[in-house]
């Protein structure tokens, strides 16, 4: 089915739109005319009512009183403003006068102070110069004295240092001697210890050799009886010895 409008249909549509617009315009014009008529009639009625109302005079009177009051207050405000302006002008003038006076006085005082300061400064400078001269003389004297003292002190310190050095040297020498002695004793102890161990080792070795030699010399292992016989014989020799004391 074809959905596109035909020329005939388009013509009808345009006529319909034109008629609708015309109708809307006619309605708006009619409403405006009616509103104008109603407003005009209301004004006429209000005017008649106002002219007939007795309160209208009072209202006018009130308006007049209010107007007079406003005029009066404006006049008062203007006067107040003028008064205020006058006071401000006076204050400003007084301030200016005071400022001028103050500046004059300040200038005078400054000049006076400057003069005093110059006087004081000169006096102070003189005193300072004198003081410096005095200090200079004193310092020169002190420097000479201090030089002597320092020289003497240095000499004393050098002497003391020499003594300390000599003392330290002696102490160091003694300490070194002590250390050497200690080292010597320690070394001697070690040597003695070594000698003792060496002797023990030698004795042990010799003992082994002697044991072997004994066995070879005697030619047999000694029995308990042999030992006891040897001891008995040895003891007899000891007891018969002239050195054995019986007393």
């Amino acid at each position: 089915m074809n959905t596109l409008p035909t020329p005939t249909n388009l013509y009808y549509l345009l006529i319909f739109v034109f008629l609708a617009s015309l109708t809307t315009l006619v309605l708006i014009l009619t409403y405006s005319f009616y509103t104008w008529i109603v407003s005009r009639r209301k004004n006429v009625i209000y005017k008649q009512l106002y002219e007939l109302d007795p309160r209208a005079d009072a209202y006018n009177e009130a308006l007049k009183i209010i107007e007079a009051a406003r005029t009066k207050s404006l006049s008062l405000l203007k006067e107040a403003h003028l008064e205020k302006q006058s006071v401000e002008d006076s204050a400003l003038r007084i301030e200016k006068e005071l400022k001028a006076l103050f500046e004059t006085k300040a200038r005078q005082m400054r000049k006076k102070q400057q003069k005093s300061l110059e006087l004081i400064t000169n006096d102070f400078l003189d005193q300072y110069k004198n003081l410096l001269e005095s200090e200079k003389r004193q310092t020169s004297k002190s420097i000479v004295e201090a030089t002597d003292i320092i020289r003497q002190k240095l000499l004393d310190e050098v002497k003391e240092f020499s003594n300390v050095l000599a003392n330290q040297s002696y102490r160091s020498q003694a300490a070194i001697q002590k250390k050497i002695n200690e080292e010597y004793e320690s070394a001697k102890k070690e040597v003695d210890e070594y000698k003792k161990h060496a002797k023990e080792r030698i004795e042990s070795a010799v003992s082994g050799i002697i044991r072997r030699a004994t066995l070879e010399l005697i030619g047999k292992n000694m029995t308990q009886e042999d030992h006891e016989a040897l001891i008995t014989k040895s003891l007899d020799n000891i007891l018969q010895s002239s050195e054995f004391s019986t007393v």
Binding site: E203, L217, D226, H227, E228, L230, I231, S234, E243, F244
Partner: protein, 155 residues
């Protein structure tokens, strides 16, 4: 009858002194009824007999107090006995020790305590120290002497 104290070495004497001290300590606590049994408990029979005879020979009764006093004297005697130092290569048998001890006692005429030290390095023989004198009759010294003589003189 004379009893001989059967103590030959310092080791024997030390043990006996300890036993006597224990015995004395117990005798202090005991009454007079059983001093002998207390002694027999702590001391060898030979020492018990020696002590009882010692008390009797002093013409005293065998009371606890008298026995205690005698044992104290015996203890002091043991402590004060002369000591003779002796080195041997081995510890002697009891019988051999007795023989040595008797020889020495007879020669001296009094009893001493032998302080026996064992030194195997001497190999045999005996060394003896008496009244500051030292007698070395050890086998090691004798062999050394023999070797030295042999090396020096060839004989």
């Amino acid at each position: 009858m004379t009893y001989k104290l059967d103590v030959m070495t310092t080791a024997h004497a030390g043990i006996l002194i300890e036993d006597i001290e224990k015995c004395i300590s117990e005798l202090y606590k005991a009454d007079d009824t059983a001093p002998k049994s207390i002694m027999e408990k702590h001391l060898p029979q030979v020492i018990v007999d020696y002590a009882l005879m010692g008390v009797a020979s002093n013409n005293k009764e065998q009371t606890t107090e008298n026995i205690r006093e005698y044992l104290s004297q015996l203890k002091d005697k043991l402590k004060n006995m002369e000591v003779m130092h002796m080195d041997l290569a081995f510890y002697p048998r009891a019988k051999f020790l007795q023989e040595i001890y008797e020889k020495i006692s007879i020669k001296l005429g009094y009893q001493v305590l032998l302080d026996i030290n064992i030194n195997e390095l001497m190999l045999g023989g005996i060394t003896l120290e008496h009244q500051g004198k030292y007698f070395d009759y050890s086998l090691k010294t004798q062999v050394n002497k023999f070797v030295d003589d042999y090396l020096n003189h060839g004989t």
